[in-house]
Symmetry: C2
Subunit: 254 residues, 2 copies
């Protein structure tokens, strides 16, 4: 089988985040598959077909792309950020495992990208400078009780927490509930970073404290970073503050 599938991370928005490896994978593809708004970020190239699909159709998109590649084509699936972080890479693997044996023979490569938490962290300082975790607040694919258990474990053990998919139209209360849960473990003054559309038009980065974080509006384009007890804010006259987590954790209470 001569087909080839690349699962490509576009990075967080702007072309300045697009790695040369990702650019080459996109340029070499005969067909592109992806969520429409992600495909729109890729320059059109002559002779290349585009197959847009809706959000939340990851499995169907992965299946269609794999079928196309299995016919001998060079196919790329595009993903925002990094394809391996709450994105298309796992959906493609799920489809390979569930599909016919022949899919295992297909050449499949994954091309990493700048995922949202790295882009947002870079905009504000170094909030992920010590141990951290990433949790998707979407409970489409896991029970909410599991999200709560993970919030408890992470905050209790001193991890900085990056929250992906904090809010959507179908999930209006989960973000507020998560913040409320985190208040059981962390002081009211804990810094919370909101990065909306980082690297895209309408970019907005702000810092709140945990006691007021649920009053800040967030949406599917927002990535939230909740600090640990050690995370610090450096005010700067005339500039946004710097938020960072020191490399050293001195105490067990962290």
């Amino acid at each position: 089988m001569s087909g080839h599938l690349a699962v490509v991370g576009l990075g967080s928005g702007d072309p300045r985040y697009l790695t040369p490896e990702a650019d080459a994978a996109l340029a070499g593809a005969q067909a592109l598959y992806g969520y429409g708004p992600y495909l729109d970020r890729v320059p059109t190239r002559p002779g290349q077909t585009r197959h847009a699909s809706d959000n939340r159709e990851e499995r169907a998109r992965a299946a269609a792309a794999l079928r196309h590649a299995a016919q001998g084509a060079r196919v790329a699936v595009v993903s925002g950020g990094d394809p391996g972080v709450f994105a298309m890479a796992a959906a493609v693997c799920e489809e390979i495992e569930a599909g016919p044996e022949s899919l295992c023979a297909l050449e499949v490569v994954f091309v990493p990208g700048i995922t949202a938490m790295l882009a947002v962290a870079a905009r504000i300082g170094a909030p992920l400078g010590h141990d951290f975790c990433a949790i998707s607040l979407s409970d489409n694919l896991k029970p909410w009780e599991l999200v709560e258990r993970r919030l408890d474990a992470a905050a209790g053990a001193g991890f900085v927490i990056a929250l992906y998919n904090p809010v959507s139209r179908a999930r209006p209360w989960q973000f507020g509930s998560a913040i409320e849960r985190l208040r059981r473990h962390l002081p009211a003054s804990t810094p919370v970073v909101f990065g909306r559309s980082v690297g895209r038009s309408g970019e907005h980065v702000s810092v709140a404290t945990l006691d007021r974080a649920d009053a800040v509006s967030a949406d599917m384009a927002t990535l939230v970073i909740v600090g640990s007890r050690e995370t610090r804010v450096i005010p700067r006259a005339g500039r946004v503050p710097l938020v960072y987590t020191p490399r050293a954790a001195a105490e067990m209470s962290a």
Copy 2:
């Protein structure tokens, strides 16, 4: 003050990971600061000075770069992977907070990069496809008991775990001890991915199971990803297997 400091992520090794934003930041700098082997990855440019320093001299390097920028120069500090993940960004923020007030007026930007866990994950499939965390096993900057507490919390709550800095000459036993600890929480068959020098010469990626993971040799150039109970391996004839964590977690025991 007209100086400018950029803290730049080179990505994990190869230039194919270097983003256009990072490339531009390096090209525009009058002086580069960094750990020698990272500086060696940056093409030389006429008129640009280089200031190499040893590993574990992050604070001194950050201070020197800030002083240089405060004199009005355009300075870049280079970091492997992403500067915000166990790298130079936090050291620069620490130095700004500890230094004279004038440092807060300096223009400082952070340029994200492909951190090792994203590069390693992409090489093997999608092991970070569900909630995950990143822990540095270096106990230079935190007590080992805190590392153990975080391993317990993360494995117990079903996070996939990326282990940075698993082994160094001065820390020979920590990795084995961490694996032993994780066996309290996870089945013997849990997949463990070892990515050594990904994107560089001598790249080697392999998969073991948790019961044998401490027999695999790791070093400072190795990034280890320990799966959760849900992480799966897809064997492929004539190819390395795919390792991935499904997007859905069905059960609370995860």
